[in-house]
């Protein structure tokens, strides 16, 4: 079993990478891998609870199956995302860069980014 982490910075619905990356993460999980997603920049828009598209559901599916979802609190605040405007599966992080470094250098076997 290996640990794969994904740093997601691109906006959902604006391009296809977030969807592709999440589907790949689900495949890793099917193989029994440990996964974590770090949302940064425009990537945090994936956490909106009001979205009608399917990408938020994909994120929840990853969390339901045991994936860890972390999002940059600073980037969320900048975009007015807080409280009931965000999905429950998301864990807010005030210093997400420090956590990415710790995870990437000491725990993860593979670091992916888009």
């Amino acid at each position: 079993m290996s640990r794969n982490i994904l740093i997601l910075t691109k906006p959902p619905y604006g391009c296809e990478e977030p969807e592709k990356a999440m589907k790949m993460i689900l495949r890793f999980m099917d193989d029994g891998d440990d996964v974590a997603i770090y949302l940064l920049g425009d990537g945090v828009e994936l956490t909106k609870s009001s979205q009608k598209g399917d990408l938020g559901k994909l994120l929840e599916e990853i969390a339901d199956k045991g994936g860890e979802i972390y999002s940059s609190d600073e980037d969320m605040q900048a975009r007015g995302l807080y409280g009931d405007r965000i999905l429950n599966c998301v864990k807010l992080r005030s210093n997400i860069f420090k956590e990415i470094v710790d995870d990437a250098m000491e725990r993860a076997d593979r670091v992916l980014s888009c």
Binding site: I7, D42, F97, K98, A104, A108, S113
Partner: protein, 136 residues
């Protein structure tokens, strides 16, 4: 064993241009955290990422990328910039300087060394982890 802990190395590949994307800012913030944790940090500027090394940047509202690169270089990061990408964008002003181990440029800060792509190959060789920011 001697019990000496070997310093791990992180290489950051930056492909995104400053002020048109947040990638240079992310790259610098990751680099700072890694340096503070005691890791060795390399950064390679490629494609539009080479613009990050330009002198005299003065953004009004954004995080100043030039200052960020200077700060991480001061903390010990090695920053290389792809020579072909730099030449294509008009930054290279002469032949490779063997003594300084860099291509000359009056437009790029001293903290960033314009070097061949083989510099990135060496970074890959010595790195425990590579994180990429930007790209199409």
């Amino acid at each position: 064993m001697l019990g000496v802990e070997i310093m791990k190395t992180l290489t950051i590949l930056l492909l995104g241009a400053p002020y048109s994307s947040q990638y240079p800012e992310f790259a610098i913030k990751i680099a700072k955290c890694a340096l503070d944790r005691g890791y060795k940090v390399n950064m390679f500027l490629y494609g539009d990422g080479v613009h990050a090394g330009m002198k005299n940047q003065s953004p009004k509202a954004f995080y100043n990328i030039e200052n960020g690169l200077k700060e991480i270089a001061q903390k010990g990061a090695t920053i290389l910039s792809c020579s072909r990408c730099s030449a294509a964008r008009g930054y290279v002003e002469g032949e490779f300087d063997d003594k300084l181990q860099r291509y000359p440029s009056s437009k790029i800060i001293d903290e960033v060394r314009i070097f061949s792509l083989y510099g990135f190959v060496d970074f890959i060789r010595e790195s425990d982890r590579i994180i990429t920011f930007g790209g199409v």
